[in-house]
Symmetry: D2
Subunit: 437 residues, 4 copies
């Protein structure tokens, strides 16, 4: 059975059927290749800004992660594919050694795409061997190894989302407006009805926040801890493009009173007047660049590619506010949440279903919260190099919750904490409003 | 009675004797002049970096604040001293109108120092008239006016501290190492014994955070609200210069594992290897520039002029952490706290008294907390231009608690929230350690 | 006889009467003080950009020049006024030692203005002693000393011009539009008739270029050398403001075809649309800031405060070109040239007299030539630190010829070579057109 | 006969055999492809700095040049290959229309390498048609067309050199030290004897400078004009790596007295301590990156990849100077000059032959002159867009003469003027010393 075939057919791994670790590993490794398939070697080579990385680099770095943290430690007699790759494809793990500077990842024309493909095959084979090594001994992988493989899977899923957002950024600067995958139509939602606003009231009190249970989570999702939450109400759906155009037309980008001071500086220095990738036609119509190429903005869809600053300004304009991450987690806890539906046929946030209750929690856009990214009470990073995964970034960034249309199925959780700098816009980021009770 | 005389004699207003609003207004207005007295017109003219302002600008801006928000609104027939001053001396109140750009405040050689002195006298006289206007009518100032005067007093006190830190920054770049006030000796604490560490245990639970009662507070100190705090322990005193030198000598500034990612970038791009104003002599002795000129670092004194990044790295090195602002407020609540003792004869943090219990809460250095500066639950900025005072800065900054040797007596409180960017070091900033229970 | 009195009365030293070296030294030293008199200590303290220096710094640096290069070498037992001043007031003489960085000259609030005044008096007295030392011995100053004093005089005259242009730059950024000297009216030339263009034909051939004779010149004005010049014609007068407005109205600043590539980049990055200090009123009238404050542009006056890039673009627009410096020198050689007339009552370029022949060679604006600043054949810098005066700047700059309304009487010459970077505009710079024969 | 085959065999077009315009056109077009052959699509995609361009862009831009300036004008019914390419591949011709910004040429992953190859084939075929169109009519190409084709050939030859220097820059930043073409050895000159210095004396007088005759030249090589040159002497050969190491070891990069002021600023801000691409091994040996990969510096070879600033500092250190471009041209005029020998087997400057007379004029490194790039007397740019080829760059750059090991055979001439900014080092630039007679 070729996973590749399944993925290409749009039949994605059913996360509810609890596939084995090995199955999920194979699936994830193959998914990266599937995502890179519509791209030429040239597309995969280029880095369009410091924040982004080339596709090739994502493909190699995720492989390096398995090689460095798992194979080198747990597979007997494992020989590194190439000693220079450690320098080339380390992202930010200082404990592992020096590395190629991030802003010039796009200069690594060598090793070639072909060598990276060989690297992936070599490591994939070794990972199979690792499973066999323990199978053969009638035993199981050591817990530490399986936990690190689990981390490697989730790590690669994160890079799969970055791969897509980075390619979109690159294509957005190309005068030919390239389309990521030609087979997809985009305008089908043009006249879709928008779900009415409904406010989900939540009581105040002391609640438990953070991850529990045996399933995988990142270190920063715990420890589970008590937290006092004040009564609040949460919007049932995301803010739409239509509402964002109202904000623009009402002078939102010109009204200093709506903005955080740092946000206003950014608006002026960068001359922001709309979400990233939006441009106005000569006849005033808003167009946007997406993985589907350049097309008109679909009014009923959730707005995406906005910064924290814009999210806050919009909330002020609407007389509401952003939720805290605790409020988001609490509101989500007892709701019927939509299932995350990553699908290579979509790759765009979709209008909300006309249902009751909280909707669009996952699968459309990441949702800015007003919470600065900080350690939970009692948080301690993991020991060793993987301890650099999250903890050292707990400054100047803001938490986003949920997940986007570019997030792999099964990757996110109700306790999942994504984080970016408040000025960053190249991720698939949107917002959901909240208000005091 | 000349307040000026009192201040110069070192007899500071006794804040416990509850002086009247008018007394405190007069005292505060005179204090600004007293603080500028040791400085030449040239010293008062210059701006040494974007973050700092010239003394002259502080003197004029605090006056403009009273003119704009109080006299123009509440004093009948008040005529502005000079219509151009609004443009020159507005700091960041967008609702009031356009303003002279912050980075070139130091180019305002006109209006002259002499005109600014006249401006102060004119406004002071008008403020007296305002009190008389209501006194004559047998009545009192409208609450709104007295609240704004109270705000103006606290506003001017903040600028008094800035005036001193800004002058120190200017002097630190002068090859002649100027002394702010010649009469003061500095080395008296050279061999002082250091108070032993003692850890104040605090129980967890739901506590009320934020300001209560009738006294003045800034809008962001409220509303008072419930908060869940986990058990923790707080150090009884601030971190000393001696301990900081141990951190340096142990390679603290070279050990990436101790640092937040953004902090490490700063360490490298700015080549930080010690607190701001520290330099090593040829014989390896650490010297520092302070308002007393250049002198050797006094080991028993609290470390000052460190960034949030350095505070976090030090805490990691020490195996502790920074307290949250809620923990700080909770720990301070039921302690015998030292009284703030601003004194023109000191102007430097002092070694801790050999006492039991929490000490050095005020009057030495501002204390970085791990809390990002954010609105309290239910917070809403004040209406009108003064609503820009705090709210729009609630992003990318960190809360400091306590108060420093440069903070005016009676200015700070247990609920007081100061805030600066994590890379800023020119304020009198230090740290107190905390740890999980 | 008080020179100060004479200067203030507008009776300037008659350079044709060949005053003695000592007379000219005294006059020049006093002139600096006279020029600073209309300025407050605050005005004299501030540096408005990296290219400019504070008046105080000019006053001290020119004094340091005499102390370092003359008194320390030739006056027996001379004791430096203050050992720290060498560091503070060295401009760019690497051979003399380290120095305070240029961009922060404006932070030197100490030494104070008063100390600088004492410094000047101390050095002036020592210079008198130096003359007496040799007079008493019935002899004369050693040639080397008198040549260096001559250099010191011309050096100080250069700084007198800089002092005025630097103050204008500072005042141009002040919202109050300060006037340098109140007593002067400006609009008297409003309706003056403009001299018709006349083109002075010059034959080609081999000519001698460079300084000859015993009079003072800078090292880079020699050695005198042969040069082949092609036939050309030179405009009899400078380009006027009226002509510049025609250039603006014809889209000169929007027409890329007129500009050097580097110039066009500057036009776009700096958004140039007029000479420095020009601004358009609401009703479209062009105003400019000058030492007389803000006033309307006088059409008949020569244009000033333009960059080399703008001069070239204008010449292209006019179908002409800039002269080379050799052409300028050749054209000036056998003409009846106007005498330089520095006068504190003017300080502005004046409309051309209605005379025949080449006019406005000196006393109005420096004239950009198309010649890159380079050594003459056989040029060698002087030995020692004063060799750094000119030679090390022979790169990336362009030669200007003539002199301006801010140039001291007797300072410039037909062989005089001024030089600035092609993007610099804060000097009193204009242009004269030339064309091939 | 396949030109490609010839080129690959190292049998390069014999420029002395005066092949026809069409032959040279075909040869030049094929040469670009040959030069790109050792490179992967990834290598050809990437831009390593603003000054450099991707190989793909060079291949497309040179094609666009023929399409825009020749085919569109002279070939009947010519249809542009793709209307979007004009925007993508215009370099700096403002008269032709807007263009893709230079710093992001490396983001053009579309059009693909394959499409650019098709573009080249399409245009090559059309060029053949153009020749046939006139041949068929029994006539010849209009003079204007043949002159523009000649320009297109020289234009493409320039880009062939840039292609190689740009690839070297890219590879120099790759941790794997890629080799451009594997078949080439490098160290064969390790112990080669260095030609003794000999100084060629040249009389002074009036000489003609600039291009004469019917052969092709760029517009800025004329008009031919008289020039007075002073007696001088020229070194017979280029400065070697051995001599450069002596300069380094004598503290050349630390001795401010040797440097132009702007050069010294660059030394400090960029921390230059050797030519570009040089690095010192742990054992102190100098290594350099070249198209042959990383290898030890060959002492007898001419130094390359130095800036104008370094050339001037070296000349000062040696007690000599750089020649002017007129001196260079005059010295070269009556010498037996070596023939340019571009050869894909070399690609590195070679030690001087042990011959008498001036040597190494072409074929090793471009030679910095002390002449600022400026128009010759009487110069006027060509009419139309191609007039932007040279004239608008006549500012802030310096002239280099001769040619390098990367310059195509027959491309350069004695009157040839190359030009770069004084801080640029990525071209194959060296120096020859001169001195006053």
């Amino acid at each position: 059975m070729s996973l590749n075939h399944d993925i290409k057919d749009g039949t994605y791994l059913d996360v509810l059927q609890a596939p084995s670790l090995l199955q999920r590993l194979r699936y994830t490794r193959e998914m990266s290749v599937v995502l890179s398939t519509p791209l030429s070697d040239e597309d995969q080579m280029v880095q369009s800004m410091n924040d982004a990385s080339p596709t090739k680099w994502h493909l190699a770095h995720t492989t390096w992660f398995f090689e460095t943290f798992i194979l080198s430690k747990f597979l007997e007699n494992y020989i590194c594919f190439d000693d220079t790759f450690g320098y080339c494809f380390n992202s930010y793990y200082d404990a592992v050694g020096p590395r190629h500077p991030r802003p010039i990842r796009g200069l690594l024309t060598r090793p070639s795409m072909q060598e990276v493909r060989s690297y992936r095959a070599y490591v994939d084979e070794a990972l199979e061997l690792l499973f066999q090594q323990y199978d053969g001994q009638g035993g199981e992988l050591p817990t530490k190894a399986s936990r690190l493989i689990e981390l490697g899977i989730h790590h690669e899923q994160q890079h799969q989302e970055l791969l897509l957002t980075d390619i979109l950024h690159l294509f957005s600067l190309n005068p030919l407006n390239p389309v990521y995958k030609k087979e997809i139509s985009i305008n089908r939602n043009k006249h879709k009805k928008v779900l009415d606003y409904d406010w989900q009231d939540c009581d105040g009190g002391v609640f438990e926040i953070g991850h529990t249970g045996d399933g995988f989570c990142y270190d920063h999702e715990g420890p589970v801890h008590k937290c006092y939450i004040h009564p609040f109400a949460m919007a049932n759906r995301l803010v739409t493009n239509k509402e964002w155009i109202d904000f623009i037309n009402d002078g939102g980008y010109q009204n200093v009173a709506l903005w955080l001071s740092d946000g206003w500086n950014k608006v002026q220095s960068e001359q922001w007047n709309a979400p990233l990738y939006w441009q106005q036609d000569e006849d005033g119509q808003w167009m946007r660049m997406s993985l589907h190429g350049r097309h008109s903005v679909v009014l009923a869809e959730p707005v995406s590619h906005i910064s924290y600053y814009e999210a806050v300004a919009f909330a002020n304009w609407a007389g509401k506010r952003l939720p805290t991450e605790q409020e988001w987690e609490r509101a989500a806890q007892h709701q019927d949440i939509s299932v995350n539906t990553f699908d290579l046929q979509h790759l765009s946030p979709q209008p909300a279903q006309l249902v009751s209750g909280l909707t669009q929690l996952f699968g459309h856009t990441w949702q800015w919260t007003q919470s600065a990214y900080a350690p939970y009470p009692g948080y301690a990073p993991e020991q060793g190099a993987v301890g650099e995964y999250n903890g050292k970034f707990m400054c100047n960034q803001y938490v986003l919750r949920g997940g986007s249309c570019l997030t792999q199925n099964g990757h996110s959780r109700i306790t999942y904490r994504n984080f970016f700098y408040p000025e960053q816009r190249w991720q698939c980021t949107g917002l959901r409003l909240a208000t005091n009770a």
